[in-house]
Symmetry: C2
Subunit: 500 residues, 2 copies
């Protein structure tokens, strides 16, 4: 095979994978937003067959050979092709190194683990889930063995979600966070300031919330011709290509804020995808570069924009117009405080901007111990509860609100949680940098996000997967990931709110 043929075959495989991904993602979208109850079985069959096709397209001798050929001739490749070949090799190795019978066996183990977790959570009984979790972890360890690792076995897993990230990076990162967040939280606990957020817990009809959220999404800069918003049980973003990016939200009639901030959050993910460089569209490079960078965009719009004093000044009259009765006696300041109320809690998904990282830290520490073989699955509830006591001063009353709360482990997603915390830190670092050239507060007060979006597009979005996460953060801000900006941001914000 000559290089030209190899490139053309690579692009052909890429097109096919992209088409299958499009179909898979649409089937999932449909399932979450409206498919009829009895569609489950047919969907499972189709997903399984198309996923099989996906793997056959990715893992085969011809592809392996052409990748080797391209790797041997790196100097002759355009940058886009080079990156594409790297991505393919990465995905190829992740799968091809593991014997197919192990993968098949694991698929069944994982499916059973999912069912067991659901059952265990309903019954709040970890012992139902424990034997399945043991197996899932055992397989994850096997996978690491087959794939190999550098320095720490957990690094292989981290790398799947955040290319290049290691336990050394995270140990340092979380230790900095811990040293600042834990005392900050303690000071807030002592603060005399009390925040009244009763007004956001009145009855807010879904229909009016929907109108407000659509308005908000549009004003964020989400392109309504290249995407849409629907409702689902759990909010998420899905992207078929930069011209078709979809988000969902979930409305709670007894609380105005969850849908509002989830729209800002998913809107951030979506704007990232809509602004990927056009030349990368419909290719494997035409999507966000990593979980962490993606999360930085969602958290940026949710927290750094959405929960800022300035932007809430802009939002306040819009919300008041939508709900004049509810907001009759509420000021913009009241809304700002309600949106930023900080409380220690047991459940990650209920956590506020400040305490969220503590939940992640606990999961990181536990996962690392698991993959260092230092703890057993049977130890988990006790370790979990001890860490919540240590960092939060709270003890779960049962397994459901403790060790069983997250779905991730039942799906074999180890190494995934840290990206949530990285997202916050990246977002603060981006914000700090863009403030050098953008009149940030003024723009937020006017609800004018154009300069901000433009900055993100030029420094983050347009690259898609052309750059790795660390390349993006360094190119955009002139330095590697630095927790300092996030810490400063939290210190500054919460000191003011809680009068510390």
């Amino acid at each position: 095979m000559d290089i030209k043929t190899a490139i053309s075959k690579l692009n052909e495989a890429d097109d096919k994978l992209h088409a299958i991904e499009h179909a898979l993602a649409l089937i999932q979208w449909d399932a979450a937003t409206g498919a009829p109850k009895n569609s489950v079985e047919g969907r499972a069959k189709t997903l399984s067959i198309l996923t099989g096709e996906y793997y056959k397209t990715l893992v085969n001798d011809e592809l392996n050979e052409l990748l080797s050929l391209l790797e041997d001739n790196k100097n002759e490749l355009e940058y886009v092709t080079l990156r594409k070949a790297e991505e393919f090799r990465n995905e190829y190795d992740k799968i091809a190194k593991i014997p197919v019978e192990i993968v098949t066996e694991y698929t069944e183990v994982q499916a059973k683990a999912s069912a067991a977790w659901e059952d265990a959570k309903i019954k709040s009984d970890f012992s139902i889930f424990a034997p399945h979790l043991e197996k899932v972890i055992e397989f994850s360890k096997k996978f690491i063995e087959y794939r190999g690792y550098t320095k720490h076995p957990y690094n292989t897993l981290l790398d799947d979600y955040e290319k290049g990230l290691t336990t050394d990076d995270l140990d340092e990162f979380f230790s900095e966070l811990k040293n600042s967040i834990v005392p900050l939280v303690a000071r807030i606990k002592e603060s005399k300031v009390t925040i009244n957020d009763d007004f956001i817990k009145k009855t807010y009809p879904t229909k009016e919330q929907e109108a407000l959220n659509k308005k908000l999404l549009k004003s964020l800069g989400f392109n309504m011709d290249s995407g849409m918003m629907a409702e689902s049980q759990h909010p998420f973003t899905t992207n078929f290509n930069r011209n078709d990016v979809r988000i969902t939200t979930h409305y709670f009639e007894n609380n105005l804020l969850p849908a509002l901030f989830s729209t800002l959050h998913e809107g951030g993910h979506a704007i990232y995808e809509q602004n990927i460089g056009e030349e990368l569209n419909f290719t494997s490079l035409g999507t966000g570069t990593s979980m962490g960078i993606h999360e930085s965009q969602s958290r940026f719009f949710e927290n750094i924009v959405g929960r800022s004093h300035s932007y809430i000044e802009y939002l306040y009259p819009i919300i008041k117009e939508a709900f004049p009765e509810h907001f009759k006696d509420v000021t913009s300041e009241d809304l700002y405080e309600a949106a930023n109320k900080s409380e220690l809690s047991l459940v990650r998904t209920d956590a506020d901007e400040l305490t969220y990282s503590l939940h992640i830290m606990i999961r990181y520490e536990i996962e690392k111990l698991l993959f260092e073989n230092k703890i057993l699955v049977s130890d988990l509830p006790e370790i979990w509860n001890k860490k919540y006591e240590e960092y939060m001063g709270l003890t779960p009353q049962n397994d459901a609100e403790g060790i069983l709360q997250d779905v991730h482990w039942s799906e074999g997603l180890f190494g995934y949680f840290p990206s949530y915390a990285l997202g916050n830190a990246y977002a603060s670092q981006f914000a700090n940098k863009m403030k050098e050239t953008i009149d940030f507060e003024k723009d937020l007060k006017q609800g004018n996000l154009e300069n901000i979006r433009e900055w993100l597009k030029e420094n983050v979005h347009k690259y898609g997967k052309l750059l790795t996460p660390s390349e993006i953060i360094e190119k955009a801000t002139g330095e590697p990931l630095n927790a300092k900006y996030f810490i400063d941001y939290l210190e500054d914000k919460y000191s003011k709110i809680y009068d510390l």
Copy 2:
């Protein structure tokens, strides 16, 4: 290869084709019911790649060989496998006999013809479309040459939509229809009876129509757990499998009836699909057997049930409850007459139950002439207009309401129109037979369709593609297709309405 392996490979191919069809149909459903404006390009790419995969799975040497092996060992196969192999051979031959470069060339010709037809229709200028139509017909003729034909070249096309149907059958069928419908229409024209349907043309808000239509669909026996209803520009039904069958309707705020009868029509298609035998589900045999039989089910629910005097007695209070103001001075009899008003018209899609077949007859006669090489594309407008003058006494004022009105020819769909007329005739023949064992009018008056659905399920639906159309009609009614039942039905119905 041994037989067992061949069967297992056939089933594997069938599974894969089914999965791809599921994905393709969902993408089309999504496009029609909500996809964002800019999603067009990505959808086209994915559809094209997945369609390519579909053909690769169907047309390859291994499949050809295993089909031959199964054909050589017919006696050893179970009936389901035998039918499946026949279906595969049918589809295989349809494609494999035509050289791939001809198919590729045609794809482009057809795409251009579609665009030209749209443009021509807007400008009401047949000359824009004519050269493209010529090419499409030329290719259709080439396809017939490659595929071969029995007795008449047009038979090969008819066979695609209604297995076994020939021009001999249709000549007889349409001549009987013509002999009865043309004089019946003439008598109605002379009738003193005038029907006032102003009340259905008041303003009916979409939201209330939607609630009414959902209620109606449910009362038809559509399983809401195994399907759903959405809104689209043109109503259609799509089925991924028997547990996921979806219909759309289109609401007109200035007319109550179009959505109502399109819900009954699509509901009929959907109930057919939902009641296919469970053992055929997720296979190529698990869907309606032909266009004509499918259309018989939709027309059955739309016309024989929906436009009957008895069912309208049942419907009337339900509609009146939904629109009490509109129906204040309207009786059930008024509604019945408005739903059955017969008028000669130039546009097929506006036609009533009686005159509809005349539109189809004209198209059939013209298509036959084309494939007998007896007329040229340049003759079409004149021939079209002459036939409309002859059968309807009406002459199109321009190409848009004449020769350009239907999309079918631009898509190369020749031989398709007759199935619409067959559907009416099959439906009447089924109805005549079921009345022997079901108290038909009583059930309709009570809106109780259970016995009727059960009859259709046992005699039509459950077989899926296990039986051919002619096998179904003969098994169910004891005789082949017979236009008499449809003619009697029309004579009886319209004589009463128009006091002939």
